[in-house]
């Protein structure tokens, strides 16, 4: 399994010398000081590091929610830096899925409608939209909870709805920013099992930011950030 992945790999994400500077002049804050990183298709990558090590900033750049100050970011060989605002939005819409620490579901909106949301923006017709949303909810083990509002669901269930929303579009890459940050241990392991399964069965590339070593263990590869640089890059348990 591992061997198979290593042989047949294409880089889906290539970062070269990515920097991010907030502010200018004396007050300039260097969040990223030159990140080089290659992520292959089908990988499950955990990004670790102490708070303030700019792992979320890097994630936002990867997810096209933010732009780097300098450096090159290629997604599937396309130079993202050359894309305009609208094209970057289109990337998010068609290739990326997002899971956040705080779930970020729409309030007073049923689980089903939350999961349908990205499909609405894709312009998919109501029937297909509903069918696919139901499928996604089933895949995360929430069959029968479709009509519940986020407030009526537990934290673990809400995060599952968020995952269903992220995978309903069959994204190439799933970005998860501290997906277990708000959950207890048992719930966290359930979520990680779910992510592992999605990675294994559907081949979705997963990039996950976490500061819990337990959770990072689920990933096949762990990248450690420190002060805006990649400090270490461990794959399959051995240091590269």
């Amino acid at each position: 399994m591992v061997a198979f992945n290593q042989i047949d790999t294409h880089p889906i994400i290539e970062l070269k010398g990515i920097t991010k500077v907030y502010g200018a002049g004396q007050a300039a804050m260097h969040a990223l000081r030159g990140i080089d990183l290659i992520i292959n298709e089908g990988e499950f990558l955990a990004v670790m590091g102490p708070s303030g090590s700019s792992k979320s900033t890097c994630m936002n750049i990867l997810g096209c929610l933010d732009t780097p100050t300098s450096g090159s970011y290629k997604f599937k060989g396309i130079e993202v830096g050359r894309l305009d605002h609208k094209q970057r939005t289109r990337l998010r819409r068609f290739y990326f899925g997002f899971v956040f620490q705080g779930y970020n579901l729409l309030k007073r909106t049923s689980a089903l409608e939350n999961v349908e949301l990205p499909l609405i923006y894709r312009g998919i017709t109501a029937n297909i939209r509903r069918a696919r949303a139901l499928q996604a909810l089933e895949a995360v083990g929430l069959k029968g909870w479709e009509s519940h509002m986020p407030g009526e669901l537990s934290g673990g269930q809400q995060q599952r709805v968020a995952i269903a929303r992220a995978i309903v579009t069959d994204p190439s890459v799933l970005f998860a920013d501290e997906p277990t940050g708000n959950l207890d241990t048992a719930r966290s392991h359930e979520i990680m099992d779910l992510l592992t399964r999605l990675n294994r069965d559907r081949g979705i590339t997963i990039v996950m930011v976490t500061h819990e070593p337990d959770m990072a263990m689920y990933a096949k590869r762990t990248v450690h950030f420190l002060d805006g640089r990649v400090e270490s890059d461990n794959q399959n348990g051995r240091i590269l």
């Binding site: 936002n60 939005t89 998010r92 309030k107």
Partner: protein, 401 residues
Amino acid sequence: MLLNTIILALRELKRNVMRSVLTILGIVIGVGAVITMVTIGGGATAQVKEQIASMGSNLLMVTPGKRFGPGQSSSVPLFKLDDGEAIAREVSSIAAVAPVSSQSIKAIFGNQNWTTQVTGSSNQYFRVTNRTIRTGRLFSDTELRSGAAVCIVGETVRKKLFGGQECLGLNIRLEKLSCQVIGVLEAKGQSTMGMDQDDIVVIPLRTFQRRISGNQDVAMFQVSVQQGASTEKAQQDIRLLMRERRHLSPSDDDNFNVMDMKEIANMLTGTTRLLTALLSAVAAVSLLVGGIGIMNIMLVSVTERTREIGIRLAIGAFEHEVLFQFLVEAVVLSSFGGLIGIVLALSASVWLASTLRVPFVFNGGIVIVAFLFSAAVGVIFGYFPAMKAARLDPIEALRHE
């Protein structure tokens, strides 16, 4: 895309019923006020017109006296009956000429008395002023010629003097004159100026001259012009005729007036229209305030929904889609408010019209205008908040608590 955005917007409004209701309240009141004002104003104008028409269409009033200038001399000659006969004879396109002299007199029957307007005239009077006899009869030629002691009374006078009693053939006393009631007029109600048109007693002109005024003068002539004929032309003809009969040289001013009821009518409807316009303007201000209310709530809603907007943008919504969603929400809200306002306004107008005794005149134009305006309010006042929402940075928006 359009349909999807509308679905999203409608879902959002349904989720926040309370907020939606509060938002549209201003628009409801604004639209309601404008339509009510215009409808009631239109009804009042129509009523004024109708009343003037009922006073006698194409009516001219010929009165002695100078129209302008100081020092109106008392030596202006009054009219005589033959002036009226001359008008009827000489001026074509005249339908009827009625000599009118009147005086306020206390009418007495039994132990009842009532001060009313006693008018001396001919049968033409009823034609000119659009009055009809409800019971009884008109004056006979003999009565008119001989100045008989007979009278025709208005509904108010009948009620005050006789109550429920049958009055035909009974005698009432007008000062020293005791006269027999031969007819009762159909009720006409209040005039535009608020006068009771049924508070009247009509006697033959000759009777009036002999027994009440004691002279041969006629205070004025009321002339009705034939239907379809030009009142301006008739007015001019009467003027020339009277100048000739009064031997005025070309340099002299008229010492009489020929007034057109249309002039009075236009003046009165003009006043009502002006009043309607004023009230509508005030109502329009409230509509504007309603629009600002929408903008307020939409702005609050943008702040409150910052995180939601962040989610939408992160998921892959285009800026213009978020903009459009907020715009649609604003427009749907305001047009819905407009619709409610229209319904409320129409029911309020029907009720007000019946309370104020004004005819209900449905004005489709203002309803459409008010609706379009309320939708436009949504676009205009929804745009700024929508723009603000669309311009949010998704990362910042997601971090927003």
